[in-house]
Amino acid sequence: MIDPEILIRKGMPRGYFKDIFVRLALGSVTYLILIIALLLFARIIIDGAPAIFSTKFPFVDIEFLTAKNETLHVFDDAEGTRHQLPASKYNEYLDAHPGATIYNEKTFSYSGGGIAGPIAGTALLTLGAIILALFFGVSAAIYLAEYAKQSPFIHAVRLAILNLAGIPSIVFGLFGFSVFVLAVPVITNTPSDRSLLVIPLLINDFALSFQGWNSSLMAGCATLACMILPVIITASEESLRAVPQGFRDASLAMGATRWQTIRKCVLPYSMPGILTSSLLAITRVAGETAPIMFTAAVAAKDDFPWEGLSNPFDILSSQVQALPYHIYTLAARIPNSEFTQRAQYGSVLVFLILVAVLSFGSMLLRAKLRAKLKW
């Protein structure tokens, strides 16, 4: 029989302070991460807000979001007034003041005008890549979730997906460059010298030439699509498997074919999940720089991607500006000064807001989905 008194503690329990200490230490480390992250955002917001927000209605600097990117000219006129004008306005100014002398002129590349070009380019790249990746990724996931049995082929597919997911983005850049830019086949009547292989098609001198798509929107989309394919496949397979087996059994038992079952009883229920996780993939695609550096992106471009094309499909083979590459250019290639800050912090803030909206959107959707879809 024990002495009941030992159940009552005298003073603090043993290890009380140690417990408190460990708990505090772990907790403070956790909150330290949050604080550092918040400080970082705060810094970008404080420095970037003047570029894209204004005190007047509509409180957003529309021009920064809708104007093309240009070189910034900073100069004084004869009266000593300082002007900061993007290249096009600068030329207008010169035309309007013929014979005027300007002083202390400085130019800053990529710092004038707005960032509509990079935004449009990123939107096109992301859209193209997501469409490709969703098409192939969901199809692959359907096979894995609905048809596949244990077989060497499936084992190899899973291994390939696992490995693809771990490949560094710069290696995807090398791959995209050597395959999509330099080696994929095109139909042309003037094969390039460096074509790997030319197969004549016997129609009007046309030939299938393995010479690549050059640095272009479609090469960039294809590279990005390859990169996120494993993400899409994994997420889609998960969504498909989340649909209860009973749905399939019931449908098959009523005489539906497997494809009918998938189309009517599986895909509709897994689609919300697939789309939610592809939002997350969009965030990743939009933010990647390394894979598009050599396959699609260009630092400066005078026109929007859709301008000056003889036929609409040419947009696929033109180079585009891209927001992440634009930020890289602004950070690495131009000196930091008071005149470039607007472009630098403004672009980063816009980009960060885009990413935040996308990722919090996907988080909210996911939470909603979990609450709604309870089988």
């Binding site: 956790t30 918040l38 199809s139 490949i167 098959l252 074919t257 930091n336």
Partner: protein
Amino acid sequence: MASEKSSNAKTGHKFQRSGFSYEQLIRFFFASNAGLSIVILTLIIAFLLKEGLGFFPGYRRDLETYRIAGLEFVDISRNNLTAHEQLTSLLNRAYYAEVNGKSSRELKRTEEASALYNAFTDQVGPTRDLILNNPQAETDGNAGMKAALLNNYEKQREKALQKPLSTPHLTNEERQQLIESLRARPPEATDDPPLVAALAQEFVAAQQKHAAPLQEFRTVIDDFESAGFDLGSIVMEMTESVTVTKEQLQTADILEKDRKTLLAAASGEKDPVERERLLADAHAALADKPDVETPMQALLERKPECVRLHEELKTASSAAFDKIPQSLTESDAKRILSAARKAWPVFITDLDMAPGKINAWKHTDPVPLSDAFMSFLTGKKWVTGGEWQDFYGILPLAIGSLMIAMIALSIAIPVSISAAIYVNHFAKPREQALVKPIIEFIQAIPSVVLGFVGILVFGTILREISVMDAFQWVPGFPIEERLNIFTAGCLLALMSIPTIFSLAEDALNNVPSAYAEASEALGASHVQTAFRVMIPASFSGILAAILLGFGRVIGETMVVLLVAGNRIKIPDFSEGLGAFFQPSHTLTGIIAQELGEVPLGSVHYRALFVVGIVLFAVVLGINATAHHFVNRAKK
């Protein structure tokens, strides 16, 4: 499920034919899409190898040319000469550190006065230029404009003088005098204010005064420097001759390649006339073998001279080095001098080895393919686009990548695993709902944004901290470059924290709750349960999380490209931990930086693909190990 269906179909249902083939087609479509992953992975490997493998023969040929043309021979002397020059520069720096250190008061006074004056000129510069260079304002009719400009100038001047820079080493009278002279300064004045000029003279006088007792040191340095002149001139002569030979060899290589292309075209050509023409062209392209033997003999005849000059260099520089003052008084000078003393024995050993190397060197030694492999894997130099000789050694890049990863992981591992334990085991549900999405959002921040923050914010903050007196005990402080291994490591830590955190948290979550329950039922406290039961049980998963974080850090490109400083050099480990504050380049960064600028198919281009292969293999290896641990954790 699928097998049931198909076996049903085989039994001979009346819709068998059409249903079977249509379903089969759909099935085949999906299967081929699943196979796409395999195709992509195969293509990645195939094209990396296709572009990369040509590197080794190409690089071997480069190294062969390097030897046949005699560049390698010249480099033996050249490297020693470079070492000698570096020593000279160290001694010079020590000398000036001593002199300037002793005249530091005068130096500070002149610097402060000039800084104040320069800040003033910067502020009034634009308005001043307008007055001086505006032809419109000169004309008589524009008196009003001129007055306006002058008024502008005066406004700027007052603004500049409202808060002049602080000048702690100037007396109040001097400061007042300087400010007054600036205020009274007419816009067209060009000469320095009197005080600035006087202080500059004062400094020069002080320098001269303190240099006088160091006269002997000065002479020693000059002697030391001149010890290398003879070897320098002969290296210069040899350099010229071998460069000519090298160019001839390279031209011959190009012609030979053209000829092969022509011959290949001729063999494929069906029209006999055209074929004849191509063959003739090919024959014409058959270059005379460049004469490498004659210049080589001339070069080899210089062997005794080179040896002699090396010995002379050794005698002369040793004699000078012995006379260097034992110690200097200023701390900077002492530090630089001790660095020179540290480098000295290495230099002497190299000099001693040189004659042996020179005599043993033969231009006819073959260059096997393994030399190209070894030179790539163990080479300490990555030099490209130079006029002399390109080297593709991966070590500086690999070491840079590894050091950055070390910094990143040594920050990220403790932080993210502590956070994972806290969130999983201690946090209330409401806290979890706050912490998890924010950390998840950090993961979503594009790396280029982090790199941008590193360049414009973090690097600057780090440098400001590093010059503070309170932190001078940290090795490597004050840092020279704001973009360095440490800066990159910190940002990559921030990047890998979410990865490691969420995987480690998953691993902890997967520990059956029965473990925690049993532990607490035995009287264990929360902390005891966490450390004695939860962590050991999820150890494999946590290890996998760390490895996957490592893979992510090694493969990350944009942050290191922007923030690591991009200096292709193995950090100087003689500075101990200070080596982590030096700039560096990385495996990923080099590809991103150089691929856009190299000619397609060149050796340099292929070298970048080999770096890509190395990266691919390393990251895949790390991930495979990680998945091994994950699978073990599942069992």
